[in-house]
């Protein structure tokens, strides 16, 4: 029978989730109705924050800019991702497996580095593309200006297109190829099949993917902060950041903005789950596994392969090369033959000599390994409770643990900051507050990996353990956990990667001594230390890339399903 300690563990898990997900939210709401605290006046109840946030002349402009940016970025990411996913899953384009692996590389590159590299490429003054075109045509005209809404959309949309690629690949893969083949046998031409069958069948997945990308773009912090703020283009995330860094710090106003953002993302996430639920009707009629089949597109396959190459150039090669170039300079300059003679590794020496860098790397490693391990262990218990145990109210755990999904990173950082500034538990200003933030933020990913893994473990495997006399704890430890291992490891790797890239929450929570690598890169950017930033960036990308390679190698060796 269920031992008492099992109940304690389950209760503790529920309490932990509630604490992580709900308490900071409460504090943020509370803060949003307080006036700023200054030396002269204590905080008091006010609705001014909401008035400033929603009833001023800027309200409409802020909302419009945010929506424009988010819609544009989502649409661009989707257009790239969906097209490439279709090419990859449904046509006989050559070198597909290689393309698939490479198209995921941008997910490894931290957003701040991707943004910086595109500033190096597309800035009107120092941008390599502009300089090259100006030299070629002998003019001073600015060809592209990254400091604009289209520029922001381009960088952000491009960076998140691999996400669209993954979502749509999964959608195309789960579609029975016979549905397209039967259209073919009915005499339909390729465009007719695409328009009347493929696109229609993929429409629930399309809607869900667009919503997810839209929410993601709304939450995006790096591009609005690095490109938007200097150009005076403000969206919600950068407005929150600005309000906090104003003097006196307007935490209440930031919270009021945060509430708006939270409402929009909540609605979208709710819609996404509704659509996915309804979509299962489409996902179809048969339970049979299908042999992957591709369409022969004849000579077009050279065009599709070329498209892939161009795309990879834009998202991987160009950004990496421009960082590499600038990391080998003494001072940042555009590539010329003269500059070619001045290549130096000085910047690497300088960066590695900073004592703060060592601390930052150490902090990043500690935080990412710590949060990944904590999350995967905690969510494996949580998921088991949600999926298997017949406890009343288990839906509550699922919803609570998924709640952080609607928190934009910056808003979560804000809420946690407010919470632990007020509560006298002594974590503010330490590395622990960042661990709390990471665990909260990435908890839903752990839930998702574990749920998926658990649903594949047949219930009878556990029941037979029970029939053999195992207690609930022994069943979990000796049957469930080992069977979950592939999912656990895949989720762990994913969380390590996203934790190392994390910037939006960390930027509000770090203090001297608890910087992480992404924050250091941010500081180097603010200080104008471009070559040092590039050197650190190149090293970070290489290390992350190596980590992923290693993970895949071990994954194959120990028979873990693809992450």
């Amino acid at each position: 029978m269920r031992g008492a300690w099992t109940w304690v563990a389950i209760a503790a898990a529920i309490a932990l989730v509630a604490w992580l997900a709900l308490v900071p939210l409460g504090f943020m709401l509370w803060q949003s109705v307080l006036s700023p605290e200054t030396a002269a006046a204590a905080a008091r109840f006010t609705l001014d924050n909401y008035r400033t946030a929603y009833a001023s002349a800027d309200t409409a402009r802020l909302l419009a800019t945010s929506l424009k940016f988010a819609l544009g970025s989502a649409a661009l990411a989707f257009a790239f991702g969906a097209l490439l996913a279709w090419i990859n899953e449904r046509t006989d384009t050559p070198f597909k497996t290689l393309f698939f692996a490479l198209a995921l590389v941008p997910l490894i590159i931290p957003g701040i580095l991707f943004t910086v590299s595109w500033i190096f490429l597309g800035s009107p003054k120092i941008g390599i593309i502009n300089v090259a075109l100006q030299r070629a045509f002998g003019t001073d005209a600015v060809f592209i200006d990254i400091y604009s809404i289209p520029g922001m959309i381009w960088v952000d949309g491009l960076h998140y297109s691999p996400m669209a690629f993954l979502l749509m690949s999964a959608a195309f893969r789960s579609m029975d190829p016979a549905l397209e083949e039967s259209a073919m046998m009915s005499g339909a031409t390729l465009p007719q099949i695409l328009w009347r069958v493929t696109i229609r069948l993929a429409s629930p997945a399309t809607a869900a993917a667009l919503l997810i990308l839209f929410v993601r773009a709304l939450e995006s912090f790096e591009v609005p902060a690095l490109i938007g703020l200097p150009a005076g283009i403000e969206v919600y995330t950068s407005a929150i950041y600005d309000a906090i860094h104003a003097y006196p710090s307007e935490v209440g106003l930031a919270s009021a903005y945060g509430v708006a953002l939270l409402i929009i993302t909540s609605v979208c996430v709710f819609l996404t789950t509704r659509i996915s639920g309804r979509g299962s009707r489409y996902s179809t009629v048969t339970g049979k596994g299908f042999r992957p089949r591709v369409m022969r597109i004849g000579r077009w396959r050279y065009a599709t392969a070329a498209l892939f190459l161009v795309y990879l150039g834009l998202v991987v090669l160009l950004p990496f090369l421009v960082l590499l170039w600038s990391s080998l300079q003494r001072f940042y300059s555009v590539p010329t033959l003269a500059a070619l003679h001045d290549l130096t590794l000085d910047s690497y020496r300088t960066v590695l000599a900073y004592p703060e860098i060592g601390t930052a790397i150490w902090n990043s490693v500690l935080l990412s390994l710590g949060s990944a391990t904590l999350i995967m262990l905690a969510t494996s218990i949580l998921c088991w409770v949600v999926v298997r145990a017949k406890l009343p109210g288990r839906w509550l755990i699922d919803n609570l643990a998924s709640l952080p999904l609607v928190f934009p990173g910056l808003v979560l950082g804000l809420a946690i900051m407010v919470c632990y500034l007020t509560l006298p538990v002594g974590v503010y200003g330490t590395i622990w507050i960042m661990l709390i933030a990471y665990v909260t933020r990435f908890l839903p990913y752990g839930m998702r990996y574990n749920t998926a893994a658990l649903l594949q473990v047949h219930k009878e495997l556990e029941e037979s353990a029970a029939m053999s006399g195992a207690s609930l704890g022994a069943t979990f430890g000796r049957i469930v956990l080992p069977l979950l291992k592939p999912g656990l490891i895949a989720g762990w790797i994913y969380i390590v990667i996203v934790s190392i890239r994390e910037l939006a929450s960390s930027i509000l929570l770090y203090s001297p001594g608890t910087e992480v690598v992404s924050v250091t890169i941010w500081e180097l950017w603010q200080n104008g230390q471009y070559v040092e930033l590039s050197a650190l960036g190149v090293m970070m990308i290489l290390v992350l890339f190596g980590f992923v390679m290693l993970a895949q190698y071990f994954g194959r060796r120990f028979g873990i399903a693809e992450t």
């Binding site: 046998m185 009707r281 022969r296």
Partner: protein, 376 residues
């Protein structure tokens, strides 16, 4: 008439290995006939069907229908599947979930180069839907149909285009047993009514025997025997066919005399010398197996009358299983065990002696050497 000549199709499996799915496949199907490709999973029957459809591109061979070549490796001809006007029913039915019943059936007409008028489309769709008894469901969501209805909808969609050839890929395998039997008759009726040349793929031997004018049994990518259902069942050419189509007893032996083609011959076996039927040339002394169907192993408590050709022996009842409309007996004769399928009225207790009779024309001698691997 459909004619397939020396068809070879291969594809790359997930691990990159080339799978030779269809090897040197040749057959002809007269107009209006139902031709079945029968074999265990992985024998290449679906690949052969998909090659005819044009969904797979064969490496070599020729496919002609009604005088038109739709595929020829020598002449470099490959007619795209959407230009062949073949109707096809997929194993998963491939009903489009985003269209209702009418739209699903109307699709093949709507995508035509010269699109028929709305009225004409409606007429044709309704005619086919009535034929498959789905007329009352015309406005229903296709996904809300039951398995049997979806199967008929898929058939309607294939019929509405008035195809030159109908391709059916295990169309009954997703239905439950009762429905499957009902649909078997339905299919046969509709195929006859529409007079369609049909290729039918199945792994179910009773389906194949029930429906076909002619059957090709496939194993490991090759056709091992082509013939009428009765031929295949009663005169299997090799061990694989005998074993895969129905259940059978194999009795090992050697030829006492040579045989030339069709006729009687004698085989020395553990049961003594048997009079058997030969269907091919077999040399004297050749190692053979004799195949006898369980229903042709006749059992009786009293000694039966002896006729010239019959084989007789005595055995002991070792075990028996009651199966409702018949009984399965295991009878030990010497060291070998024979399976006999008899009428439930035979009530001989286990352990009692019993008489066995096997008529010569029901015992088929098969050369051991040419037999491919037995069915799994």
């Amino acid at each position: 008439m459909l004619s397939v000549k020396s068809l070879n199709t291969e594809y790359a499996a997930a691990n990159g290995q080339v799978v030779k799915a269809a090897q040197d496949v040749s057959f002809e199907v007269p107009d209006g006939a139902l031709f079945t490709l029968l074999g265990p999973s992985g024998c290449g029957k679906t690949t052969t069907l998909r090659s005819i459809a044009g969904l797979e591109r064969p490496r070599s061979g020729t496919i002609e229908i009604g005088g038109q070549t739709v595929f020829s490796s020598d002449k470099g001809i490959f007619v795209a599947p959407n230009k062949r006007n073949f109707g096809m029913v997929f194993q998963s039915y491939a009903i489009w979930p985003h269209m209702n019943v009418f739209k699903n059936v109307a699709f093949p007409l709507e995508v035509r180069k010269v699109r028929p008028s709305r009225k004409e489309i409606e007429q044709k769709v309704m005619r086919v839907l009535s034929a498959v008894q789905l007329a009352e469901y015309v406005d229903r969501d296709a996904t809300k149909l039951s398995g049997g209805q979806q199967q008929r909808l898929a058939l309607a969609r294939a019929l509405v285009m008035e195809p030159r050839l109908l391709l059916l890929d295990e169309p009954l395998s997703n239905l439950d047993a009762k429905l499957r039997e009902a649909m078997r008759f339905e299919l046969k009726r509709m195929q006859r009514d529409f007079g369609l040349t049909t290729i039918y793929v199945t792994h179910d031997q009773s389906e194949a025997l029930a429906l076909s004018h002619e059957i090709a049994v496939m194993s490991e990518g090759r056709i091992v025997q082509i013939g009428s259902p009765r031929d295949i069942y009663e005169r299997p050419r090799n061990k694989f066919v005998a074993d895969f189509v129905g259940s059978t007893n194999f009795i090992g032996g050697t030829m006492v005399s040579a045989s030339s083609g069709n006729g009687r011959c004698r085989v020395a076996t553990a049961l003594g010398e048997l009079n058997v039927q030969c269907v091919e040339n077999l040399a004297k002394g050749a190692t053979v197996v004799v195949s006898v169907r369980p229903e042709d192993v006749e059992l009786s408590e009293v000694e039966p009358a002896r006729e010239a050709d019959d084989n007789h022996c005595r055995g002991v009842v070792e075990a028996k299983v009651f199966l409702g409309d018949y009984l399965d007996f295991q009878v030990k004769v010497g060291e070998s065990v024979l399976l006999a399928r008899v009428h439930p009225s035979l009530r001989t207790p286990t352990g009692d002696p019993i008489n066995v009779r096997m008529r010569a024309e029901k015992c088929v001698a098969i050369a051991e050497a040419v037999a491919p691997r037995a069915a799994a």
